[in-house]
């Protein structure tokens, strides 16, 4: 047992020093700018009316916290907006990321009245982005390097900030889920039922039928619904941490956050949490190879889809001459799949098609997909290559 613990500590220590390709995190960087501007919008609206935080009830966390006058405060907010825009565009990315995080953090910590969990979640993501070089691939910075004839900057970097981001994001789900699990009112359904009761007039005005509202207010419904919500939150948190269940957890997180956004007012939290799912992409680019043969319309469609939709850099694409299956996929562990099976697996790794395609890899849907699409993509087949016998790649 001690030896196993020692091995885990050694593995963690190795992880801290590991390097990987973080181009997927650039998607979060692009989303961060609009999220920050949305987050700052209420403060900016007041600023345009000449109202600063100090003109209203405020309660500093620390009496020694550096408070500034209205003019400087307004300037700081506008610097935050500019930095957020630069961050999304990838212009002076590292400076922009640090400035954005600093402005959002400064504003949040000015007063306890600025507190909300979703704002601190955004800050956590911004600090993570500031620690990572997230402007090396798809950014104005990268375009300027290309124009100057310089080689593209390497997307590989030390992974310890990503490790920290993952820890923080998983903690949000686990801490939130645990607090509900041990709260009898939450677990029993009282909290969710009263939420519906509190908002029933607005819900009814929104066109929800009376019979549905009656169900949604019933204690019996909430005794099950609350447990499902709590267990879903915990399953996402735990599932993200464990490599084998990560894909399922990411899949589950999508409807989880969409439903929260529809049911509650959580400012930018849902969007930030959905964008943050990219941090769970394995930080290794092009470690799966898509092989496309021929120039049929279907072959061109698959080729174009992979080129245009592979935003997280999952695939290396080759188009060899000669005979063979129309489309093949060589996975990172060496397993080859062909035809409909390959397309199914490719689609389940592209961000835009992931949510629909990932369940197609489960047994009942897999057989149906492979049979229905075999005429288009070729018969599904797969066989492990010699490399497949090798150990799984390291957990990432």
């Amino acid at each position: 047992m001690i030896a196993a613990a020692a091995r885990r500590v050694a593995a963690l220590s190795t992880s801290i020093d590991g390097e990987g390709d973080i181009r997927a995190v650039e998607l979060l960087r692009m989303a961060a700018g609009p999220l920050v501007i949305l987050h700052l919008a209420p403060f900016l609206a007041l600023a345009l009316d000449g109202v600063a935080y100090s003109d209203r009830f405020t309660e500093p966390y620390l009496s020694v916290y550096p408070a500034v006058g209205p003019a400087l405060y307004f300037a700081i907010l506008w610097v935050g907006v500019a930095a957020a825009a630069f961050l999304s565009l990838g212009f002076a990315t590292r400076v922009a990321a640090a400035t954005t995080a600093a402005v959002v953090g400064y504003n949040l910590l000015l007063s306890r009245t600025h507190f909300s969990n979703n704002r601190f979640f955004l800050l956590v993501l911004l600090v993570g982005l500031a620690l990572l070089p997230v402007g090396r691939r798809w950014s104005i910075d990268a375009a300027r390097r290309r124009r100057r004839g310089l080689p593209a900057a390497d997307s590989r970097t030390g992974l310890w900030p990503l490790l920290l981001m993952r820890f923080e994001v998983a903690t949000v789900y686990l801490a939130s889920g645990t607090s509900k699990l041990i709260d009898a009112d939450w677990w029993g359904g009282t909290v969710t039922r009263l939420r519906v009761v509190q908002w029933q007039d607005a819900v009814a005005d929104g066109g929800v039928p009376g019979w549905l509202l009656d169900i949604a207010k019933s204690p019996e419904f909430h005794s099950w619904f609350a447990k499902a919500a709590v267990l879903t939150e915990l399953a996402i948190g735990l599932g993200l941490v464990l490599r084998r269940t990560r894909l399922g957890a990411v899949w589950l997180a999508v409807p989880f956050h969409v439903s929260i956004e529809l049911a509650a007012s959580v400012q930018v939290f849902s969007y930030a949490a959905l964008a943050a799912l990219v941090i769970w992409v394995t930080p290794e680019a092009g470690d799966r190879t898509v092989v496309i043969r021929g120039s049929t319309p279907v072959a061109r469609l698959v080729s174009r889809s992979v080129r245009r939709l592979d935003w997280t850099g999952r695939f290396a694409l080759t188009t060899p001459a000669g005979k063979g299956p129309l489309v093949s996929l060589v996975d990172r562990n060496g397993v080859e799949t062909h035809g409909a099976a390959a397309v199914r697996r490719i689609a389940s790794r592209l961000p835009l098609t992931f949510w629909v395609a990932a369940p197609l890899n489960l047994p009942p849907a897999r057989a149906l997909w492979d049979r229905v699409t075999a005429r288009v993509f070729g018969p599904a087949s797969g066989r492990p290559t010699a490399d497949a016998a090798a150990p799984e790649p390291p957990a990432r």
């Binding site: 390097e19 009830f57 310890w160 990432r396």
Partner: protein, 160 residues
């Protein structure tokens, strides 16, 4: 998330090697402390207790004047102060009707107490109010009503 080339060998552990571990250990320690602390304190950053309760509250807030009168804060106020203009966040702008306590009643009571104190001491043109009082009625996840009385400290401007 291990694997990949590493920068530090076991033989030579650089300052960066130690710095990385220090930063990670610090963040983990702070985060775990915040999560645990959130069970005992209100509105703890990084506590991550989302939708913690479905508490509700309403309050009657009055100005107690130097001659002992209790005047509703919705009535005209010396200096033209309006409660709903200077107290905005967390549902405090409109305390007079029953509505949800965003982060639970403890947080709301804490904020309301702070708001009474802040307003009492940021209305320099008011020379007749000696203190603010709030009588809060609240329901904890439907249980109640309970009652709490919050009082600001006395204002020197009126005492003079």
């Amino acid at each position: 998330m291990d694997g990949g080339p590493t920068r530090s060998s076991g033989a030579h552990r650089s300052t960066r090697w130690w710095a990385r571990r220090f930063v990670i250990a610090s963040v983990v320690a702070v985060q775990i402390t915040a999560v645990v602390a959130a069970y005992g304190t209100t509105h703890t950053p990084l506590g991550w207790q989302m939708f913690p309760a479905s508490d509700e509250w309403e309050a009657e807030i009055v100005r107690v004047t130097v001659d002992g009168e209790r005047r509703d804060i919705r009535d005209p106020w010396p200096g033209g102060v309006q409660w709903s203009t200077v107290v905005r966040n967390h549902g405090l702008a409109d305390p007079f009707r029953r509505h949800p306590a965003t982060y639970g009643i403890e947080t709301t009571l804490d904020f309301l107490e702070g708001a009474l104190e802040w307003v009492a001491h940021h209305t320099p043109d008011d020379s007749e109010t000696i203190r603010l009082e709030a009588v809060v009625t609240y329901w904890e996840n439907g249980r109640g009503p309970h009652r709490a009385v919050l009082v600001s400290s006395d204002r020197e401007e009126a005492a003079r």
